[in-house]
């Protein structure tokens, strides 16, 4: 299970700073659009390195065969 975390700071004037963490790929843009719709208008947006990571999980199976010699 992936953990999605959002930190929201509402300033005394009502301006909102949102930090979306743990959401890779376009998933974070969906969160961004959703939160923008709730609050009002987008003033600024910065994508961080995690955004560019693939949102599909890569799985590696390691198998070890034990032989009794």
């Amino acid at each position: 299970m992936a953990q999605h975390e959002v930190e929201i700071v509402i300033s005394p004037s009502g301006e909102v700073k949102v930090h979306i963490k743990g959401v890779k790929g376009k998933g974070c843009l969906e969160y961004a659009a959703w939160l923008t719709e709730i609050v009002g208008k987008l003033k600024d947006q910065k994508l961080t390195s995690e955004y560019y990571e693939p949102d599909t999980k890569a799985r590696i199976d390691l198998r070890q065969e034990l032989r009794n010699e």
Binding site: E5, E15, V23, T36, L42, K43, D44, Q45, T48, E50
Partner: protein, 156 residues
């Protein structure tokens, strides 16, 4: 980290949502709700009072479920604040008080509109996060009166 957003609030919603935010702001600033019914114009007294009116530019109060002319009247000492919807649907806050300068009343209105906006955004965000299945990890009011909410949810 994924993304960081800065959002500008728009106070938009029905009268019940606005009144909830007004109540929150009033409580935070020590204002008391005087009455919510339609007010008669007190023209004799109004002429003697200093008045300041501010319209929230980024606001829209939906007319539905609202009686025409309805407003909320708040008081703190001898200052009276009125919150209502104007003809264009904007939220308007008007302050009046005897013996107070225009600058004092303007400061009061600005302080109130900021708190109203903060309360409105907080109520809206908290409700929407809950419906989306987020759980509050921690929440605090910071030294500068900003509200910080940290939420989390697990997805497949």
């Amino acid at each position: 980290m994924s993304t960081v957003l800065v959002l500008v609030p728009i106070v938009s919603g029905g009268w019940p949502l606005i009144t909830a935010a007004v109540a929150g702001a009033a409580s935070a600033l020590g204002l008391v709700v005087k009455e919510t019914a339609k007010q008669e114009i007190e023209d004799a007294n109004q002429e003697q009072l200093q008045q300041v009116q501010v319209e929230l530019a980024e606001s829209e109060i939906l007319a539905q479920s609202m009686v025409t002319g309805q407003e909320i009247v708040l008081v703190k000492g001898d200052i009276e604040l009125r919150v209502r919807r104007d003809e264009r649907g904007r939220c308007v806050v008007c302050a009046a008080g005897k013996g107070h300068s225009e600058a004092e009343l303007k400061q009061m209105v600005d302080q109130f509109t900021q708190k109203l906006t903060q309360c409105f955004v907080y109520n809206r965000v908290a409700t929407e996060l809950k419906t989306k299945g987020f759980q509050v990890v921690d929440e605090e009011v910071m030294q500068d009166e900003s509200i910080r909410i940290n939420v989390r949810r697990y997805v497949e």
